[in-house]
Symmetry: D2
């Protein structure tokens, strides 16, 4: 039964692969620090697209649902290079009334390169005013939380 | 005497102004989340250039002193727009044997937009191997810490 | 009299200085190719702000005047590094009924690093529909053309 | 026989798909101008990786073969949005003694969004000195030219 619980949790982890390129690297021959939060953000936007069916563009422009970030933190564990694909694992950690918290871990060649947390809040996109998560989105989100 | 202490601390705060542009903004008409750590990093690189006389490029390429980041965290307090200059205040909070910790606060029109902390470690740039801060740099750094 | 003509033309050249940074450089230790059109675009946006009093953000958001690009070309003459300021010279070459053409030259330490041409067209920002340049803007533009 | 010639040419066209995102868009809700040359450059770097077996990072760092750009030009035909995948078609147009010329066309939903040309030259990466294309690379390149 623990195995079943584990495999349900595994299924909720979302993997997004990024090819790190010359364009991402600085003269130290590794991905520039400022690129790395952007890798994580790309993985989260892709999570929304695939898991919820609504990425940030569609949410804002088509549904008036904005989800700006109020927090991000990243610990850099190992340099990121173009030599291996960068696997970004996204986990939805928590759904509040009007916020969501994700963790993102980035791995290359089975080595942890970075891990971080990212918090978004729900706003009416046009008014930029805080709101509760729309009911249909909340239901989808709650089913995806990893305990 | 408190005034003297205060003004010495004020003098250690470094201000770097960034003009936020159309290019930085997303369809919500505010600076994209992923740009904001980059604003803070630019302010820290400028701090190195002005306060220590050695920015990241010169440190790495000319002096073999690399200072990669091991941590960053940012709280987003208010949206950033092209309507006002973005004043980034950099404070050196702590100098360890082989690391430095900064805070960066970003303000527009006297409103706090973001605040965050950023930790760099010293490495031999060519070998990417941890080292103690070089003695001349450490002396300059220690004089700039804000208690 | 030739001197007077020359100095009037000189006054129409707009200079915008960019500090090239570690963040802009690739492992070849020079500014990454993809950054360079962005330097030129930044200089043009600043030209609009200073010379016309309306940068791209204000034009689009406050005045419903969009000016998307239909063309850009850049010749790269010499590598760009963080060792010198990058002076971007912007010249307004031509004003058509619904378009403007700029040249941008980038220099470091008196050496030409890049030169390019950039063409924008006027559109109603909300409808993204081509239009003639608004009369007040056209008058300002025409006075700034460099023959 | 014309069909055979045509299908050989088709096989030489390289397609690279980019997912355009919120992060790429400006307040006009379309991909920012300055991002678009970067999309094309990504497609060319991927071309090198897949077709030659050596992307820019590996060429520079592992083989001392640099290929900096001396020219790029882009015509923007239609706005680029997150609503459709962006298909970038790369064609190798010409191989000179020490240069290569590509065209890149970007399409969304069968509509041409941009087309451009990009020229790289061969240099010894460490010395940044012009050189002829290495013989093994030149042979691969010549077989891929689209007449």
């Amino acid at each position: 039964m623990d195995d079943i619980v584990q495999s349900a949790a595994d299924a909720k982890v979302f993997s997004h692969t990024i090819r790190v390129r010359w364009a991402d690297c600085d003269p130290a021959r590794i991905a520039y620090t400022g690129r790395i939060p952007n890798f994580a953000l790309e993985a989260i936007d892709e999570w929304w697209r695939v898991r919820i069916g609504m990425d940030w563009f569609h949410g804002n422009v088509d549904h008036n649902v904005g989800t700006p970030f109020v927090h991000l933190s990243v610990d850099f564990r190992s340099p990121i290079t173009p030599r291996f694909p960068l696997i970004c694992e996204v986990r939805l950690l928590k759904v509040g009334d009007s916020s969501v918290r994700f963790s993102v871990r980035g791995l290359q060649n089975d080595i942890l390169c970075f891990e971080g947390e990212f918090v978004e809040v729900f706003v009416e996109a046009d008014a930029h005013r805080k709101m509760s998560a729309p009911e249909d989105i909340r239901r989808k989100l709650e089913a995806l939380v990893i305990d």
